[in-house]
């Protein structure tokens, strides 16, 4: 089967507050790819993800969606890209004035210009998919952290994204709520969703990921399959880093 | 237009300067009296026994619920028409203004003080009493100093309002900044220029008051009661 590149970043450079936070990052996601972004705090993972969605406009480099370069300056291309590239935030960022169902349907109506009914129907399907059939009419303030994150995943999925970017989707959750979100992510993986996820959940993502991408100080320093990088006899930065996390969290790497 | 500068320097500014002194003589005492009234009535509304509490509530409701201009009109025009036997209250315009401003301002301060008091956890008062303080000592020394810090930015705002609303004194014949300005404008037929300068006087007063109040607030600041960042 021929591999088809969905989203590709070439040599992305990004300055924030006078610092060069990304110093030439290239990464490509083929259809069905699951890549996991790891690296120390401040290494630029969130910044990279937000550049891929053009929430940050890079100062240098290029972005290709379905092999076509995206013009950052063109607003409509920018909105198009954001629709096709879904984003899950660490702190959920649900719209506080809208119920779970409305959170999912609002962008269908306002961005995709769907009718009220059609959007509501789709929202129900997506919420069912993440196991929230009975919480559709609750407001964000009435939901637990895990439920909020699942709504935010449903919200992104409703837009039929070609890629999903996840920025530490479980870091803001209490330990007992993490698994309900991981289950949803695992289902997405099973169904072939293309994903790039920043996370500290090493063992979970090692079982899922096709590739680990290790970032340090604004560049990608290592990448490869988790098996290679974490192998018994490997001497990778990734392995050291994972060992450190494992020590901290008591997780088996 | 060519005589704009001479007009401003020779007529407007000297006139407004004398008005400025009058305004300040109204604002400063009203601000202090208002604050005292506000602290007392605010405290009554939280801690005083039922009748005093209710009377304080009513005072605040009445003075916040009606326009200051109506209140001033009452003190200056209506009250002298009222007598109980031979007894009749007639106050000079300046006294009316200070009484009116203080009572109105006090009602607004009261609201902030009350809010500040209610935001202090009840444990503070209990702890004070547990040390053997009587309730009044505990309120005065433990609760009020904390509440006042919480209420300060509200009270600052109220003082800024007072500065602006002191212009109402001009409608009861007082020659404050606004009163002087009106006189100059009428005589010279140069409304825009005159009233713009009048406006600048108030902007300057308000800005100055803001600086002073901010300094005071900073001075009183203790950890845990920092000014909220806007």
């Amino acid at each position: 089967m021929e591999t088809q590149t969905v989203l590709e970043a070439r040599n992305i450079i990004k300055n924030l507050g006078g610092n060069t936070v990304l110093r030439g990052v290239s990464i490509a996601l083929n259809k069905g790819d699951i890549k996991v972004l790891i690296g120390p705090s401040g290494s630029g993972k969130s910044t990279l993800l937000q550049c891929l969605n053009l929430l940050h406009i890079p100062e240098g480099g290029s972005l290709l969606l379905d092999n076509k370069p995206v013009n950052f300056k063109n607003k409509s291309e920018l909105y198009q890209l954001r629709q096709k590239v879904g984003m899950i935030f660490q702190e959920f960022n649900l719209f506080d004035h809208l119920s779970a169902k409305e959170n999912v349907s609002i962008s269908l109506r306002k961005v995709k210009k769907q009718g009220r009914k059609e959007a509501a129907k789709r929202a129900e399907i997506e919420l069912q998919r993440v196991g929230l059939d009975d919480k559709m009419n609750l407001y964000p303030a009435q939901l637990s952290g895990g439920q909020k994150q699942r709504v935010s995943i449903a919200r992104a999925l409703a837009m039929d994204p070609e890629v999903l970017l996840l920025d530490e989707p479980t870091s803001a959750l209490d330990p007992e709520l993490i698994s309900e979100v991981l289950v949803v992510i695992r289902d997405l993986a099973k169904n072939g969703m293309t994903m790039l996820m920043a996370t500290h959940q090493i063992s979970f993502s090692a079982a899922l990921a096709h590739e680990f991408v290790f970032m340090e100080d604004g560049i990608i320093t290592e990448h490869g399959s988790p098996k290679e990088l974490l192998a018994e006899n490997a001497t990778s930065r990734t392995k050291d880093f994972c060992a450190k996390i494992a020590e901290l969290t008591g997780e088996q790497a | 237009m060519s005589d704009f500068i001479p007009f401003i320097t020779a007529q407007v500014i000297p006139g407004l300067n004398s008005g400025l002194i009058v305004s300040i003589k109204l604002i400063v005492p009203s601000a202090f009296l208002g604050l005292i009234i506000g602290v007392l009535s605010g405290t009554f509304r939280v801690y005083a026994p039922f009748p005093i509490r209710k009377i304080s509530d009513a005072y605040v409701a009445i003075f916040r619920g009606t326009p200051l201009v109506v209140q001033i009109y009452f003190w200056y025009f209506a009250l002298p028409y009222t007598s109980i036997g031979e007894f009749r209250i007639v106050m000079s315009a300046e006294t009316c203004a200070i009484v009116g401003f203080s009572l109105c301002s006090g009602a607004y301060h009261s609201e902030y003080i009350r809010g500040g008091l209610l935001s202090i956890k009840s444990g503070q008062l209990l702890a004070g009493q547990a040390l053997g303080m009587n309730p009044i000592t505990a309120i005065r020394n433990i609760v009020l100093p904390q509440a006042f810090r919480n209420a300060f930015s509200g009270c600052s705002n109220e003082i800024i309002y007072l500065i602006k609303y002191s212009s109402i004194a001009s409608i009861i014949t007082i020659n404050d900044i606004t009163g002087m300005g009106r006189g100059i404008a009428k005589e010279s037929w140069r409304n825009v220029e005159t009233y713009l300068v009048v406006g600048i006087y108030y902007l300057a007063l308000v800005t100055l008051a803001n600086v002073i109040l901010y300094r005071i607030e900073k001075k009183m600041e203790i950890p845990g009661f920092e000014k909220e960042q806007a």
Partner: protein, 231 residues
Amino acid sequence: MVDFFNPIIEALPYMVSGLWITVALVIGSMGLGLIVGVPFSALKVYGHPLIRKFIGLYVWFFRGVPVLVLFYLFYFGLLSWLAQISFLSFLPFNNAFFAAALVLGLTTGAYQTQIFKGAILALSPGQLKAARALGMSDFQAIKTIILPQALRFSLPAWSNEYSIILKDSALAYVIGVAELMSRTRSVAAITHKPLQLTLFAGLIFFVLTFIGVKGLKALEKKVKIKGYAQS
């Protein structure tokens, strides 16, 4: 005792028609303030630096100059200048009610700009990001996500603003608007009974404050977001 109330009863129709002018003035000014305040607050937060500067200047001026002085400045000054510009002549610059509504509207507009701006800044910043991530334009995101929440949270402050403008409207008599205070003064001057008339005017303002604040409180309850702890 009946004698005491007589001046009020005799003047009642005259006073009531003044009451309607007061009500119209307040509604008009609050509406104008809303029309100014909503876009200005969004522009103050998200707009071009130059626009932000300009709005800052506007807010500073109208919050620092007394309403009374603004009435004089606009009605006797600025508006009579504008009235002489021919292509603006369709606007009733010489009309006292128009001038009063304009001054009060621009004043409360400045305060409302501050109120909405505060509410926008109090929202969790991630929501705008999330809306953008879904492909909404900034305008859409502000309109559908930010403002509906900011306006809700502004209701208590807006209600306070209503009661301030209601009270400020009593100053409009200085430029000759025949509202409640103006009528109170003229009846008092004719009858020499300022006491009962002043008290009566005070009572009406009190009731208007009460009704407005209660109404807005009910609105606040009605549009409250479920489970949301913020008032």
